[in-house]
């Protein structure tokens, strides 16, 4: 069997990059005659090529050992950085998922951004994301994973800032960039520190190294925590989760990708560094703890949101939390399966609600109602998405979640509790949104609400069909857990929690919408969740405040102390009421004096570590 397509798998990200470049001529001011739309079409075609290539590559590597490609990127002094690629069934499959979802999102954007002028920029950025993510899954090196994550951070900044006229967009883009950058830089610390210890950044070699590595516990812990930080920010886990919520200001087609595959890049890297994380019990426990706290906290916050995109964004954080728990308990295979089923389900949810937001202007779920008769296709797609998201057999996510529940039941019983809670809460919030949107009487906002353009409906319906076939796909891929697990007590408990949550959501918000006013007993508690545990205020009161204060103090010192000495003589002229003449002799002397002062300070400082040496020399 030939290996043409797997050997050339490095082309998969290149198609998208080429698309990004090709879209640029349609930026405002270059090609005017055609309007901006060709930029989109070019990218759809390039993404389709990448999709096709990924499928062909998967067919080639199926059942065979992975293809390893390697090229030296930089050889500098004693540092050699090689770009390692690994084309295996898993990575090719991930590339198919990424390019496939990108294809759908780009087609969706043709409809969603119909009236927008910035197609070139938008499609270039989508293509940049696609290229970055495809590269990330193919890359087999921690260094380049970091590189890609960081480039994607920049991409996030620009993509969220797409509608840069709006102030919320601007702050959202800023916060996303800075939050992710914090995670990235801590990851960079880990990357830098790992090299002298392990001597390699290749994931396979790192895994080998981790089996025999003998590190001091504190080194292993710090290393583990540093490597955890990157995924933590990417996956929007507590306490770095706020950006995902603010990122919802961006356009929906970007959200489809961001809430599914982009956040999953963090999880992907986490899975890859899991062997190193496992060197330190604290690192592993931190991953599990952060994941569990985020899962529960974010699903609670999701329930209290009235903005439909924010409900979905917190559900994203919650599921990424579950992934953290899964990886933390060494179930990487389950985590990968869950990422697949989750990505399909979540993109379905966003697509179906995105079309509604587009026609009906509002993102406020309380303004909606009675859409079922007007948009049955969207409603069905939403239902399929919700059912695939939570543990509801026979649809997608049930299987990995059941496997997870079964594994947790033996060793981590409290995590099983977390899983059941999160599943129930997510089912509740999905049904709450469904009830508010589709059931009840039509409201002024929903009186007129047709299904969208073909470009919106086609990807959505196609994906629904795919979502319904996921169990078959899992069976073919041999990823379905056995019947024993599917019928085991934890799995049944999982199903019970789904039904309980869904029922509890559907009744008050859907069926008996008008009779039961839903209010928590304590408004303060409700606000606490509605305002995202006041995280924004927490940031503002701590890190933002500290950085702003310190920089102002430093600048004050710079102006009035360091430079002030230089300018002190200005005071005298102020008193005499004359204009400043800086080159008079008195001032010149003062400059020299201040320079000497600075020099003296620096000299003492530079020699400080040597004073001991000097006394040693002087003594004999």
């Amino acid at each position: 069997m030939s290996s043409l397509f797997s050997q050339t798998a490095w082309l998969i990200p290149c198609y998208a990059l080429l698309g990004a470049v090709l879209a640029l001529p349609w930026s405002p001011g270059f090609i005017r005659r055609t309007g901006p739309r060709p930029a989109g079409y070019v990218n759809v075609i390039m993404t389709f090529l990448a999709f096709l290539h990924s499928i062909l590559a998967l067919i080639e590597v199926w059942g065979r050992s992975p293809q390893l490609l390697s090229v030296t990127w930089l050889q500098a002094a004693d540092l050699t950085i090689t770009l390692d690629l690994k084309v295996s069934a898993v990575t090719a499959g991930a590339a198919i998922l990424i390019t496939g979802l990108n294809l759908l999102a780009q087609v969706y954007a043709i409809g969603y951004l119909e009236m927008d002028w910035g197609w070139a920029r938008f499609y270039s950025l989508l293509a940049l994301f696609e290229a970055g993510m495809c590269a990330l899954v193919l890359i087999n090196s921690l260094f380049f994973s970091y590189v890609v994550l960081e480039v994607l951070t920049l991409g996030t900044y620009l993509l969220i800032g797409y509608w840069f006229n709006q102030s919320l967009v601007v702050t959202g883009a800023r916060d996303a960039f800075l939050t992710k950058r914090v995670g990235d830089l801590i990851l960079l610390m880990g990357v830098v520190a790992l090299r002298p210890l392990a001597g390699t950044w290749n994931f396979d070699e790192l895994a080998d190294w981790a089996t025999t590595a003998d590190l001091q516990p504190w080194v292993a812990t710090l290393l583990g925590l540093a490597l955890l930080a990157g995924p933590l920010a990417k996956c929007a886990q507590f306490p770095l989760h706020l950006w995902l919520d603010e990122a919802m200001e961006g356009p929906v087609p970007a959200t489809i990708l961001r809430n599914t595959v982009v956040v999953s890049t963090g999880a992907w890297v986490l899975i890859k560094v899991q062997p190193i994380l496992a060197l330190s019990p604290i690192g592993i426990d931190a991953a599990i703890f952060v994941g569990a706290v985020t899962a529960i906290g974010a699903s609670l916050i999701a329930i209290a949101q009235i903005d439909i995109k924010r409900v979905l964004s917190y559900a994203t954080s919650a599921y990424m939390g579950l992934i953290f728990v899964t990886v933390g308990t060494s179930q990487s295979e389950v985590a990968l399966t869950l990422l697949l089923t989750y990505a399909i389900a979540m993109s379905l949810l966003i697509m179906s609600t995105g079309g509604i937001v587009l026609n009906n202007i509002s993102q406020d779920v309380t303004q909606y109602g009675g859409l079922w008769s007007r948009r049955p296709v969207s409603g069905l797609c939403y239902l399929v998405g919700a059912a695939s998201l939570v543990a509801l057999p026979p649809l997608g996510s049930f299987w990995p979640l059941a496997q997870l529940a079964d594994n947790l039941a033996s060793d981590y019983i409290w995590l099983l509790g977390v899983l059941l809670t999160v599943n129930a809460l997510t089912a509740f919030s999905m049904m709450r949104v469904f009830g508010l949107l589709f059931l009840g009487e039509p409201t002024p906002m929903t009186r007129r609400s047709p299904e969208g353009l073909w470009a919106l409906v086609l990807p959505m319906v196609g994906l629904t069909g795919f979502a319904l076939h996921i169990p078959l796909l899992l069976a073919v891929l041999d990823l379905l857990p056995g019947r024993v697990i599917a019928l085991s007590l934890p799995a049944l408990a999982l199903l019970g929690s789904t039904l309980l949550g869904a029922g509890a959501g559907l009744v008050p918000y859907g069926l008996k919408r008008d009779q039961v006013p839903v209010k928590l007993s304590s408004p303060a508690l409700q606000d606490f969740f509605a305002y995202d545990l006041y995280t924004a205020k927490l940031y503002k009161g701590t890190i933002v405040f500290v950085v702003a204060a310190v920089s102002n103090v430093i600048y004050w010192i710079d102006r009035f102390i360091v430079d002030g000495v230089v300018n002190l003589v200005g005071l005298a002229t102020m008193f005499s009421g004359q204009t400043l003449r800086y080159n008079t002799s008195g001032q010149t002397q003062f400059y020299v004096f201040s320079i000497l002062l600075g020099i003296a300070a620096l000299g003492i400082f530079a020699c400080y570590p040597l004073l001991q040496d000097l006394s040693l020399i002087a003594a004999p």
Partner: protein, 520 residues
Amino acid sequence: MLSLLLWLPLIGAIALLLAPPQWSVVRLRNIAGVLTLLVFLLSCYLLSQFDLGNGGWQFQEYHAWAQPIGLSYSLAVDGLSLPLLVMGNLLTLIAIYTITGAPHETTAGALRDRPRLYYSLILLVNAGVTGALSAQNLLLFVLFYELELIPFYLLISIWGGPKRSYAAIKFLLYTAVSGLFVLAAFLGITFLSQSTSFDYGLLTTDGLELKVRLILLTMLLIGFGIKIPLVPLHTWMPDAYVEASPATAILLGGILAKLGTYGLIRFGLQLFPDTWTLIGPGLAAIGTISVLYGALSAIAQKDIKRMVAYSSIGHMGYMLVAAAAGTRLSILGAVAQMISHGLILALLFFLVGIVERKAGTRDLDVLNGLMNPIRGLPLTSALLIAAGMASAGIPGLVGFVAEFMVFQGSFTTFPLPILVCIFASGLTAVYFVILLNRTCFGKLDNAIAYYPTVLLSERWPALALAAIILFLGVQPQWLVRWIQPTTNALAAQFPTVLADQFATQQPTLAPDLPPAMAHR
């Protein structure tokens, strides 16, 4: 060959001064531009002729000049100076085609007053830098080092902003003191080691007492520290950068500051290898403080040019930390950081100059929404984002490559300072996001947004710089290939106690290199 590089701009400078007064500004500028392009191409030719297997001096020229005082006309370059020299020529070319700032320009963007002097001063700067970078005699170096002051002083004080005379005097005094310290240290090195010649290759500090070496090295540190500049000797720099016209700021930050770092490595690290290891921790501390200080001060700025100026202090700090660590990779990173910082800073100043020229202000609180495609400055904004991100160390652009080599190379020697530096590169992102959010993003005020279009002639230097920054970021081998032989040889001078943890784990990767620096 090096003489050609040195004398061509010098002759050009004189010729331009003597040009007929009726010649138009555009013509003068094109003459200067073509001349610089020629010099730049010649220096690129030198790159192609450079022997990559040899870390020592190449293209040597020697003429006895004033032997009684030990001064000789002795030129040569190695992997440390040649890349800087090429970058210096490139940035001179860029600077010639950079707009000079509102009060000194006609509406067509051409210079209004004293164009002959202006362009000849820029050529003079170029000649001075080439001379200083290729001088193989300490006195010759000082000669060129001091020669730089005159054109820069005039450039700031004639074509500067409102507070230009203040800034120019401050600059002149500070850098004159810097020259004095360097000169004193050079005299000390030569006389105390009983040498009769100031030729670089004949000098060695091995015979000196430790105390003497420490004092001499500290003097050099102060002298070059003013030029770089290092905290707390930096206060001339924000004023000079801000008051200078964009073209002068590019030359100041891109070329002149690099003479300080170059001198520190050439005359500090290379002449005092043992002493350098002793004061290494102190240098790393100063570097780290500079990094933090620059980044934090930049966050507090309201003027984008001043913000960029403070960012420069921070980025020079990385260089010092890396030079202090003294491993092969870290010294390479330090030199790479000079190049990358020079390119990025030039791009930033260039774009800030365009924004100021077109939008009429540099104030963060006034600027808004420049990314607007019709009424704003979309391409300038896009390039500004690229430049800011390059400076913040986003991978794929040259800033990351250099910073990463600094971090990785110095980590085993100075773990804690490097972690602080990585933290500070997060602060870099903070102020660039502030800058980009306030200038490029947001809503353009339609009432005031009647900006003149940016002409292609005003923007090609930025496009060229951005292309280079991107290319070197993606293909960093082109950045390190000329530097590597020399920095490897430099690092080989050091006692390798700190560096060998790396070396033992990477036995196959180190190419064989001459064990000691071949001076001649």
